[in-house]
Amino acid sequence: MVRAKKIKKVVSKKPISRKRQPRIKKIKTAPKPQAKQAAGIRAQEIAVETAKFSQPEISRIVKTFSPELPSQYEQDRMVLLVRDPWWLYTYWELKQGTVEKLKSELKDEFYKAKRILRVYDVTDIIFNGLNAHRFFDIEIHEFANNWYIDAAGPGKSWCVDLGLRLSNGKFVTILRSNVVQTPLDGPSWITDEEWMIPDDMFARLYGMGFGQGKSSPIGKAWRERMVSSSGVASMASPVKKAQERGFWLKVDCELIVYGATLSDAKVTVQGKPIALRPDGTFTLRFSLPDGKQVIPVKAVSGDKADERTITPIVNRGTK
């Protein structure tokens, strides 16, 4: 099955901006789900999946006093994760000793230095600390231990250093992350000679793959959904939805018919036999619609010699 192939690389026509402004962004808290936000399939999928985990309105008070997770694992470690084609996430921890060592080495400089995340574009290279295509810095505060990074570079490889920028401009690396690769946010420019497809035909297939019909422009709706979809539709648990209706009033009526006779008697209500409790009592409960209900209750003694009938008549009206 495996055979050699010629891979043809089509050069991107889009210029890659080299002089990027450093970006300092921390993502805002995810938007709170709201029922009336735009709905996509994915939002609907979330709604279905949420419905699997139905929950009561009032959470039970389960306060087991379990210990907390450790805040540190006493390691020098920086991990970089990909959130999507544009955003990265990193978290890190430093051993106390590592910080102490830096302090004793840098003395006053340590306190004057700025804490920095240096984000390197290391696409298609083996990164040695110096050979990145480019990098940008994000100034962070001293006590941060995680950060969302707007790298805005789909289809590239990234590495991040946590470091100090000294007052003389020199950068000192404290920790280095793993290397990750962001996915493309559109079709690849690379085509395969054996499996060639003209651009216009691929565009049609691409649109169809995203459910946009055969004439849609490439990925337009896709991109709109990706970029503008700001929330999650009908995420609500069943209870939540009820709460979102605003002020309301519901009234309904039920009727309880109860009585007693000898325990061996046979009793019918509206002609239908009912079961007595061992002591001869009985209770029936009916949902009561508007209108007139005639409810003959007939008891026949165990030896069938005696018979009594009592017929409550109930009228319900609603204004």
Partner: protein, 526 residues
């Protein structure tokens, strides 16, 4: 001669929720509801199709956690109690609604359904996995596996040992249950990261499912888009991507089928609607109102006013919509067949719980669809991924793109403000687990038990469901607690193993609580 294939995939999964330490545990209802509303109805659909000699093909994931719960005697016992209570409630409802025929008939319908659920459950010796295994052995159902506990793989990529453990534990578990190896896997949340196909290959898996952009944004450019599988470069593991057009017809909250006004309204349940003292024995023992499963209204319209549900109107709509779905797929394959010069495959995956639990008429729609496709036409034929690959072994080789079928198509659902903190702990645990697996060889007795339990706790902590629930921002308490409990248990085990001071009583206690995967081998995590 068919011009193309339709591959229906139902993804069945629930996180492992089993609390022997409590007599009654609310979150266990997730399973009980799914059994009554989704799994039994699907089993009944398959049984009717087989009885009528309809030669169908459906692919279904049964996640290892779901299989483990369905096979668990304690949960089976509790389900029986649950369904018996529901049957009792249905009897009361039949009486209560006697003066309102529109509700009375529905109460009768629920009694019949609950009774059927109990009968089916008992008929398969309380273990519904037997039913699905039977359908697989008959060649109608292709059961695929999933991550052992539905961990989200892309965010584990830095710790591939955990991805490997998720896959290998799942495959081993599948084999012990079904007596053969799984051919395919549903990557949890369709979370694919380039390179994980190598782990699938190691485990003997031949294909997986992904979202559309895994292939469409893969490299080199895929000649047939999502309408043919691709082989992953270097491993030859096949990737089948979902077709979003057919997904949208079913999923979309606007034009999707489940929103039809004649269908049953999910949000109106007598657990919330009826008088408190009456319904109290059937809701949560703490007195908190919950869904019972008895729902009397149809969607009616976009407003709050709801009309009673009329089953035969809904059935008519399900039949029409099945016809509409088939018609659209026929047009789709006709067009694609000419366009591609080969038979396209349309992959339509859905969350299994969409059918029945969320979309009450879903199982019926599926039955209509299958009957129509098999009996009424020739253009479209049902297939499975394995069958397609047998008939079409030559496919393009590409590297699929990282992707998921989650919100926005990547990892954000599981990596955002409310849940990003978990990865620091999960990853530390992964690293520690690898350390344990590598440094402890040929151990026995207590240490071996502790090592195996450590892997169970790690896997349970990794379930994507916890991060998902935290991400939705509502009712997160349970998910938080589960994440913490498993991680704390893992950390304590790690310390005790390392210091050779394993507390046997405590170990026995957590073995009893977190009893999943009895045959697990800690060495898998390498």
């Amino acid at each position: 001669m068919p011009k193309g294939y339709l591959c229906l995939v139902l993804h069945g999964h629930l996180p492992y929720v089993r609390h022997p330490e409590h007599e009654d545990f609310l979150e266990e209802d997730w399973l009980y509801e799914a059994i009554t509303e989704t799994y039994v109805p699907l089993i009944l659909v398959y049984e009717r199709l087989i009885a009528d000699r309809i030669d169908f093909r459906v692919t279904m994931t049964l996640s290892p956690t779901l299989i483990s719960m369905l096979s668990d005697t304690l949960l089976q016992e509790r389900y029986l109690k649950h369904i018996n209570r529901l049957i009792e409630l249905a009897h009361k409802e039949i009486e209560r609604t006697r003066w309102q025929p529109e509700f009375h008939n529905l109460a009768l319908m629920y009694l019949s359904e609950f009774t059927k659920a109990r009968d089916t459950f008992l008929r398969y010796n309380r273990n519904l996995v037997n039913a699905f295994k039977n359908f697989q052995d008959l060649g109608k159902l292709e059961i695929i596996t999933c991550g052992a506990t539905h961990g989200y793989f892309p965010l584990m990529d830095t710790y591939k040992e955990s991805v490997r453990a998720q896959v290998k534990v799942a495959v081993g578990h599948y084999e012990s249950v079904f007596g053969r190896k799984p051919r395919g896997i549903w990557l949890p949340e369709c979370g694919y990261h380039p390179g994980h196909d190598a782990i699938l290959k190691e485990a003997g898996l031949r294909y997986f499912f992904s979202d559309a952009h895994a292939i469409l944004h893969g490299s080199p450019r895929p000649k047939y888009g999502v309408f043919a599988p691709v082989y992953c470069k270097g491993t030859q593991v096949a990737c089948f991507a979902r077709d979003l057009e057919s997904s949208k017809q079913v999923w979309s909250s606007i034009e999707g089928y489940p929103g039809d006004y004649n269908y049953r309204e999910f949000y109106r349940d007598i657990g919330f609607d009826l008088e408190y003292d009456y319904i109290k024995p059937y809701i949560h023992p703490d007195g908190v109102r919950i869904n019972t499963g008895i729902k009397y209204y149809r969607i009616t319209g976009s407003g709050n006013r709801k009309e009673p549900y009329v089953p035969h109107w809904a059935q008519d709509r399900a039949s029409q919509q099945a016809g509409n779905f088939m018609f659209n797929r026929q047009k789709q394959v006709e067009y694609l067949y000419d366009f591609m010069g080969r038979k396209p495959i349309i992959v339509s995956p859905y969350d299994a719980e969409l059918f029945g639990h969320w979309w009450y008429e879903g199982p019926l729609w599926l039955e209509f669809l299958i009957r129509k496709i098999v009996c009424d036409q020739d253009e479209l034929s049902l297939t499975t991924a394995a069958q397609y690959l047998e008939e079409n072994p030559r496919n393009q080789v590409i590297t699929p793109s990282m992707s998921s079928w989650g919100w926005k198509g990547y990892s954000e659902m599981w990596l955002q403000g409310p849940n990003d903190w978990i990865y620091r702990h999960l990853h530390a645990a992964s690293e520690r687990m690898t350390e344990l697996a590598r440094s402890y060889n040929s151990v026995n007795g207590l240490t071996k038990r502790a090592l195996n339990q450590a892997l169970r706790e790690l896997l349970l902590a990794q379930s994507s469901d916890w991060a998902f629930i935290m991400g939705t921002g509502t009712h997160t308490e349970y998910a938080l607690r589960r994440t913490k409990d498993h991680l704390l248990r893992f950390n304590r085990l790690y310390e005790e193993i390392k210091s050779n001071s394993i507390n046997q009583d405590w170990l026995s206690d957590i073995e009893y609580k977190d009893n999943i995967f009895p045959g697990i081998d800690y060495k898998t995590h390498q």
